[in-house]
């Protein structure tokens, strides 16, 4: 596989892997939680890194996932006091955890190589340099395998727990009565969000993970009201974003992840304006039609 093709494959895998849990974040009105988690996993990575002293250790993913779940837990703990609103709870917890991470990094900046930029920004173009070598044979870029595994886990989670996710998302009270344990599904989903974010951070950087998690589901949400259709449209849109984003970046020689995020926004904008039923255009048309009728 050529390096270009490898980057393209990674781009699509990352985009699709992120967008799957994103569907439920959007429907559960927790979109900003993805922004929160993608920042706080830095703390998990930092702590795990200080324990293992190895940036490639799988413990990093474990640490990040734990801190991701901790973020959700702390946010809900604050929110449950009813002393502050949900968005304020998010806005208190993640800057705090993020600050702790930054302080740890700066205190030991001299002794380790781990800077915030590499976590927050990431660069997809470097992904093919990191090879996975099994028994001395180069079998492809490492990111393809790590992100591929995460994609498969996400896909399996959504397929196996589809019924549970659906009922917990749309009617948590009924889910609790029927014994589906909403909190278990909830934290399962949050663990996946954290794992996906940490898997994607080195290729696309943690802030753009938010674009891939929220962008395609929101776009799909505009097009349908059926959960199954929404997931399928979501996968198609994220694939398109991945391909177009890479082509764009290749032509102009700019940041690949940034271009993918830009495409996500562009596709959303097109759908937002031109959706047949609820789009901005049809709304404006309807409005003017009504006015004409009024005058007549």
């Amino acid at each position: 596989m050529s390096a270009e093709l490898e980057i393209q494959v990674i781009a699509v895998i990352v985009a699709v892997a992120c967008s799957l849990p994103g569907v439920f974040l959007v429907l559960r009105k927790m979109s900003m939680m993805s922004d929160s988690i993608t920042h706080t996993i830095l703390l998990g990575i930092v702590i795990a890194f200080f324990i293992t002293k190895d940036l490639n250790s799988p413990l990093l993913i474990v640490g990040a996932a734990l801190v991701g779940v901790l973020t959700v837990f702390l946010t809900e703990l604050l929110n449950n006091t009813k002393l502050l609103s949900k968005d304020s709870s998010i806005g208190i917890v993640f800057p705090l955890l993020f600050s702790i991470a930054i302080i740890i990094i700066s205190k030991y900046a001299g002794s380790v190589h781990l800077d915030t930029d590499s976590v927050l920004l990431g660069e997809l173009a470097f992904a093919p340099f990191n090879r996975l070598i099994v028994f001395g044979v180069d079998i492809g870029a490492k990111s393809i395998y790590t992100m591929g595994a995460i994609l498969i886990i996400n896909l399996l989670f959504v397929i196996i727990f589809f019924k549970e996710l659906k009922i917990v998302t749309f009617d948590p009270a009924l889910a609790a009565v029927l014994g589906f344990m909403p909190s278990l599904v909830h934290y399962g989903l949050m663990t996946l969000v954290s794992i996906t974010a940490v898997g994607a951070f080195e290729s696309v950087g943690s802030i753009l993970v938010v674009a891939f998690m929220i962008g395609p589901p929101v776009t799909a949400y505009l097009l349908t009201e059926d959960l199954k259709k929404m997931i399928i449209i979501d996968i198609i849109i994220s694939t398109i974003n991945g391909i177009l984003g890479y082509k764009f970046a290749e032509t102009l020689d700019v940041s690949i992840a940034g271009s993918m995020a830009l495409m996500t926004g562009l596709v959303f904008l097109l759908v937002f304006i031109f959706t047949p039923k609820n789009g901005l255009m049809s709304k404006c048309l309807m409005k003017s039609k009504k006015e004409v009728l009024k005058r007549a």
Binding site: T81, F98, I100, I102, I103, L208, A211, L252, S255, T264
Partner: protein, 376 residues
């Protein structure tokens, strides 16, 4: 004492403390409105969305002057705010999803521009990203002056439009009905919040700026139900955390200023949540246990009252075991009942003679007024 000496001598420290204090005051005041309007995370979105504006300003004008970059950041921050509100207005997408989408797409666009700038010949782009991650320790006199001027402009505007802000924040429908244009007032508030965020960016950085906008206001909210006091307290908390954060970070080696400020303001939030009078968690526990005890006492009193009227005139004194039996209490709970009875006695609602209890007139009228509703 050593601390004071250090501050008195160190000019940079004075400057940075002053800057952080000003920022704390401005963001404290404006953050109060964002928090009450449940738009706290707008700060996070706007500060990320500033990146493409900064890059574009640099590309078009070709200078790294603070004023130019601030202007670019301001324009793209305002554009992002406008897009977010439009998405919410014209589709079924919720505020938080719109926020997350716009934030990340703008940031992605910013990254694209940043990589484009890096390829420009003779481009001196180094430090552009520092603008967005913030470095309080490199604050210049000019930056502090900009903050001061903005503070002098923004805070009088808040005072001038106090009534309008208050009414548009709490009751939009009412504000509309008495003829205020809430659309315009909200725009003004948003505009000012965006300005505060943009000037805070280079001091504390993207993520920490969202904390500076939310945390002081959330802490202040716990201590009062009045908007005016909340805004003042919020400014005070912001100022305190700004100054102490700066000083602490200068005393400890390798301690970055922004995160230290966030740590301190988070501490203030935690203390406020726990210890605030009326709303605090500590107070809530006390209140709950007091309420529970009063209910138990009422139950005991009602039982004595019932026994009192069931019995004949000659046996108004009821012994302890009888009360216990009437309450279906367990063998072990003697002490609890004794305590409740003692408390009722202390409140003057029952009389005690040897080990016999009787309800008095005051107790009967208490029950009639408070429990049986005087219906008899």
């Amino acid at each position: 004492m050593k601390v004071i000496e250090l501050i008195a001598k160190d000019y940079t420290l004075q400057l940075v403390s002053l800057g952080s204090m000003l920022l704390g005051i401005i963001s404290g005041v404006l953050g109060s409105f964002a928090v009450i309007k449940k738009q706290s995370l707008l700060g996070d979105a706007v500060s990320h969305a500033a990146l493409p504006g900064i890059c574009l300003a640099f590309i078009i004008i070709g200078t790294k002057k603070t004023e130019v970059l601030l202007l670019g950041a301001l324009i793209s921050g305002l554009l992002a705010t406008f897009i977010i509100t439009s998405i919410v207005k014209y589709s079924k997408i919720k505020f938080d999803s719109a926020l997350a989408l716009v934030l990340s797409v703008f940031f992605g666009g910013g990254l694209v521009l940043m990589t484009y700038i890096q390829k420009l010949p003779n481009a001196n782009q180094a430090g552009l990203d520092k603008f967005i991650y913030g470095q309080a320790s490199t604050l210049l006199e000019r930056d502090v002056r900009i903050m001061f001027i903005l503070g002098v402009v923004l805070i009088p505007v808040v005072i001038l439009f106090w009534k309008e802000f208050k009414i548009a924040t709490f009751d939009e429908a009412f504000a509309e009905s008495v003829g205020f244009s809430t659309g315009r007032i909200n725009m003004l508030i948003l505009f000012m919040i965006v300005i505060a965020i943009i000037i805070g960016l280079q001091t504390v950085g993207v993520i920490l700026m969202s904390a500076m906008l939310i945390a002081p206001a959330v802490a202040a909210r716990q201590w009062t139900d009045r908007l005016s006091i909340m805004v003042l307290l919020s400014a005070l908390f912001g100022a305190i955390s700004g100054v102490t954060g700066t000083i602490v970070s200068s005393l400890v080696s390798n301690l970055p200023t922004g995160p230290t400020i966030v740590l301190i303001i988070s501490g203030i939030v935690l203390l406020s949540l726990i210890f605030a009078p009326n709303r605090g968690l500590f107070r809530r526990i006390l209140k709950n246990s007091k309420g529970y005890r009063l209910i138990c006492e009422d139950i005991v009193l009602v039982n004595i009252y019932d026994l009192h009227f069931k019995r004949g005139e000659d046996s108004k004194n009821i012994d302890f075991e009888n009360i216990k039996a009437s309450l279906n209490m367990k063998e072990k709970s003697n002490r609890k009942l004794e305590k409740l009875l003692a408390s009722l006695n202390y409140r003057g609602l029952v009389n005690k003679e040897y080990n016999m209890w009787s309800i008095n007139d005051k107790g009967i009228s208490y029950i009639k007024n408070n429990i049986k509703g005087g219906g008899e």
